[in-house]
């Protein structure tokens, strides 16, 4: 887990990877809080294949909500969606799962991995 902030202090890249499950959820929460506290736009980069679970999805969803409320941005890097999709597939994430509050953008974790082909 690593947070890299650029010189403008506006944008930061949060690099995470490996097992992103409930075992590490407390640490993950802290680094997400830290990232959203420091910069306006947080980009998520996966440095390796990831393993996710419901706790991760909730945490990400919470972070997303917080970012919207604070008028900040939380995004998964464009070319990283496939990593998330693969992780969803690995855990048997139900294909037709949609979030009621989803804005159908790539920034909602529920829809980014699940409903897309």
């Amino acid at each position: 887990m690593n947070l890299k902030v650029d010189d403008s202090k506006k944008e930061g890249v949060l690099t995470i990877g490996g097992t992103l499950t409930i075992q590490r959820s407390t640490a993950l929460k802290e680094i997400l809080l830290k990232a959203l506290g420091q910069v306006d736009c947080v980009k998520i980069h996966f440095d390796q294949a990831i393993e996710v679970d419901l706790a991760f999805l909730q945490l990400f969803c919470a972070a997303h909500k917080t970012s919207l409320r604070k008028n900040k941005k939380l995004q998964i890097e464009e070319n990283q969606i496939d990593v998330l999709k693969k992780a969803f597939k690995d855990i048997g994430f139900p294909q037709f799962m949609k979030c009621k509050n989803s804005d159908d953008s790539n920034h909602c974790v529920w829809s980014s991995g699940g409903s897309h082909e």
Binding site: Q58, T66, I91, P94
Partner: protein, 720 residues
């Protein structure tokens, strides 16, 4: 697959056998102390384990039996049922039947369905007699996932049939809201949802409105909940099954919103979810509208195939070689006995070769080689000891079987017998222990049948009602002494003598010591029982015992006082395969005597022989000891050395000497059998290969003495 199943079955049989032995012991203990909690617990656990494994390996009869027994013992654990003789007897019958099923029975009992049903019935009666409800097995069963799994798959089969005529699919709306702490139970709601998807057409709507802001979220709690639309041919139980583990950890509502096939298409599902998205609630009207809208489209989407291609069966077929885990983290392993036999044979060969090496090195007188040879000798000795040690098994394993024997016998004969054992931890070669079983059974039967008197008779003669049979074992040098002692009627020497004369075993005027008379009961064709009982005295007497012990190179000794009881002592060499021997030379041939039988060696000079006036006796520190000249006994020609040597041994409490040309020294003797041709030559007990490659015969001292004595006796009686 079958091979693995068979392997599993074999393991199960072995395990069941061990558990039954334990169970048997528990029962015997319980018989004496019926409320021994620890024993009840052990008995319960043994039955529990047998039951659990048996039906998995296809032994349904055993599973049914143990189920009944376990049910009763569960009641016993809870103090609702007392341990009675009836219960114990019944449980013994369970053991017998299971033994019969797994083919390990010692008595001639065969597995029999009617007997099993009989026992099951008796268990049920036992419970009803105790005033307890006779619970039918199925009523005991609470919901288990796989049982429903089964009903589901059979449901599948029915469905397939129905599919051709009409396929009705219902659409369910499922509300699933896990409790906050569901993760702490190791539960993963996503897996359940994906399982739900496998039942049919499924649309899942995730509700995230309860997920708090990042600052407030407890990362280990669950905030998410779901609405699911599922169109499936499965009934509601199949859906409930999926949630079986979470029933207490979530809020769940399952409603049927349509019973026709109308909603089984993508558009309908999309509309349903849209309604939820918009209104958060679904009314009957909404559904009705949808149904009429889609009813006549006639679109029947293909049924999703639920069978998963990667079932266990498939995998098994693909990876035939993938047997058992690679992690064998167990503290002990099972080894087939024949593998051990092979190992012992190999070690035997090694010992022989090592002896040759040592001898060869000595003749070469090369110090470096000598050092290596000594090292090898030491290692070979260690290897031999360790190998022998592996084969050693505590004799207690067979002791325990006798408890059952004594119990059954005394019941049958109406006698009261207390059976005690000591020294069960004494270890003997596995093969020896197996061969000891039959002789010991015979002796114990004999003790109870002929030795121990009926309770009334005992009391009349001032003894306690209960007779005593004590079985003990202890080390004694390179031997193990097994003693069977009883406080029964003992042996009437006059009776035996009379009997033996009647049967023509001895002549009326033969003078015999007490010991000689006692040893008659081991003669073939001698049986003291007045009437033939089922238990013993079937025409085969204790001579069978003698023969068995002979094959083990052991001895039988008997001591008895009329009215006081009897002690039979079996002296058994620790191991069969390798013995410490004394190497001797007579003429050009070499012979081995078991060192354990040797007491001392003395010299025999020409003067000694001349002083004895033709009799084969020698004076050892004032004691006159008879000796047998092996040269004569074995008919060996050639000239005797001026000074012979006599090996003094003890046979049946009497000292006897064996005169030989030379005593060479101690020798590690690997016993080889002489083959079938020599099987009846009992004065030879085997052969061994010496370091120089030559063969030395192992002599059976007691037999040589016996043979010589009988020859002399006929000579004496013939001349009389």
């Amino acid at each position: 697959m079958t091979e693995d199943l068979n392997k599993g079955r074999d393991i199960f049989k072995e395990e069941a056998y061990e558990l039954l032995a334990k169970l048997e012991n528990c029962l015997l203990e319980l018989e004496m102390v019926p409320d021994d909690k620890e024993m009840i617990e052990r008995a319960f656990r043994a039955m529990h384990t047998i039951k659990g494994s048996s039906s998995m390996f296809g032994f349904d009869a055993i599973a049914n039996l143990t189920h009944e027994a376990e049910t009763v013992y569960e009641m016993v654990r809870k103090d609702k049922v007392k341990v009675t003789k009836e219960l114990i007897d019944l449980t013994f019958r369970v053991i017998d039947q299971i033994m019969a099923v797994i083919g390990k029975h010692e008595y001639d009992e065969s597995a029999d369905e009617s007997k099993i049903n009989d026992i099951i019935f008796s268990f049920k009666q036992l419970l009803s007699k105790e005033g307890l409800e006779v619970s039918h097995p199925s009523s005991l069963r609470s919901r288990s996932p796989q049982e429903r799994e089964l009903s589901r798959s059979s449901h599948f089969a029915e469905q397939d049939l129905a599919e051709e005529t009409k396929s009705t699919k219902r659409t369910y709306m499922i509300y699933f809201r896990p409790h906050h702490d569901i993760f702490l139970k190791g539960l993963n709601p996503l897996l359940l949802l994906s399982e739900l998807c496998q039942l049919g057409r499924c649309t899942i709507i995730t509700h995230t409105d309860l997920i708090p802001d990042l600052e407030d979220i407890d990362p280990e709690a669950c905030y998410t909940y779901w609405d699911v639309f599922l169109t499936t041919a499965e009934d509601i139980n199949a859906i409930r099954d999926i949630f079986i583990f979470v029933e207490d950890n979530c809020e769940i509502k399952i409603n049927v919103i349509d019973t026709g096939n109308s909603l089984d298409n993508e558009e309908a599902h999309k509309h349903l979810s849209n309604i939820i998205f918009e209104k958060a609630e679904l009314t009957e009207k909404d559904v009705e509208g949808l149904i009429t809208g889609w009813r006549n489209t006639g679109k029947h989407n293909e049924v999703k195939n639920n069978s998963t291609g990667d079932s266990l069966q498939d995998k098994l077929q693909q990876g035939g070689g993938m047997v058992r885990g690679h992690q064998m983290e167990v503290s002990s392993i099972r080894v087939a006995a024949n593998k051990l036999d092979k190992l012992v044979n190999l070690v035997g060969e090694l010992v022989t070769v090592q002896a040759r090496l040592s001898q060869a090195v000595i003749t070469r007188n090369d110090p470096e080689m000598l050092l290596i040879a000594e090292e090898i000798e030491r290692l070979t000795d260690d290897l031999r000891d360790s190998t022998m040690n592996v084969r050693l098994v505590p004799i207690g394993t067979i002791f325990n079987r006798f408890k059952r024997l004594v119990r059954d016998l005394s019941n049958e004969l109406g006698k009261e017998v207390e059976f005690t054992t000591r020294g069960g931890e004494t270890e003997l070669d596995k093969n020896v222990i197996e061969k000891l079983n039959d002789p010991l059974v015979h002796i114990i039967r004999n003790s109870i049948d002929h030795g121990i008197e009926p309770p009334a008779n005992r009391e009349a003669s001032g003894k306690s009602r209960r007779g005593m049979v004590h079985l003990s074992s202890e080390y004694s040098g390179a031997n193990v002494l097994i003693k069977i002692r009883d406080d029964g009627a003992g042996i009437d020497l006059k009776e035996i003598r009379k009997d033996a004369i009647e049967k023509g075993l001895i002549r009326e005027d033969t003078s015999l010591t007490e010991r000689d008379i006692l040893s008659i009961i081991f003669s073939p064709g001698f049986s003291t029982s007045e009437k033939v009982t089922k238990v013993s005295g079937r025409g085969v007497g204790l001579d069978v015992v003698k023969r068995c012990i002979d094959t083990l190179r052991g001895t039988v000794d008997i001591d008895s006082k009329k009215g006081r009881g009897m002690i039979i002592t079996l002296k058994i060499p620790l191991t069969l395969a390798i013995i410490e021997g004394l190497l001797l030379k007579v003429g050009d041939n070499q012979y081995i005597l078991p060192l354990s039988a040797v007491e001392e060696c003395i010299e025999l000079t020409r003067q000694d022989v001349a002083g004895a006036h033709g009799r084969h006796i020698v004076n050892v520190r004032g004691r006159i000891i008879p000796y047998i000249r092996l040269r004569d006994f074995l008919n060996i020609d050639g000239t005797m050395p001026d000074i012979e040597q006599i090996v003094i041994t003890e046979v049946n409490g009497k000292k006897v000497g064996l005169a030989v040309d030379h005593v060479i020294g101690e020798h590690q003797t690997v016993i080889k059998s002489l083959g079938r041709i020599y099987r009846d030559v009992d004065v030879l007990s085997g052969a061994t290969i010496l370091g120089n490659g030559k063969v030395a015969i192992i002599l059976n001292i007691p037999k040589i003495v016996e043979y010589t004595e009988s020859k002399e006796m006929t000579m004496v009686s013939g001349s009389a």
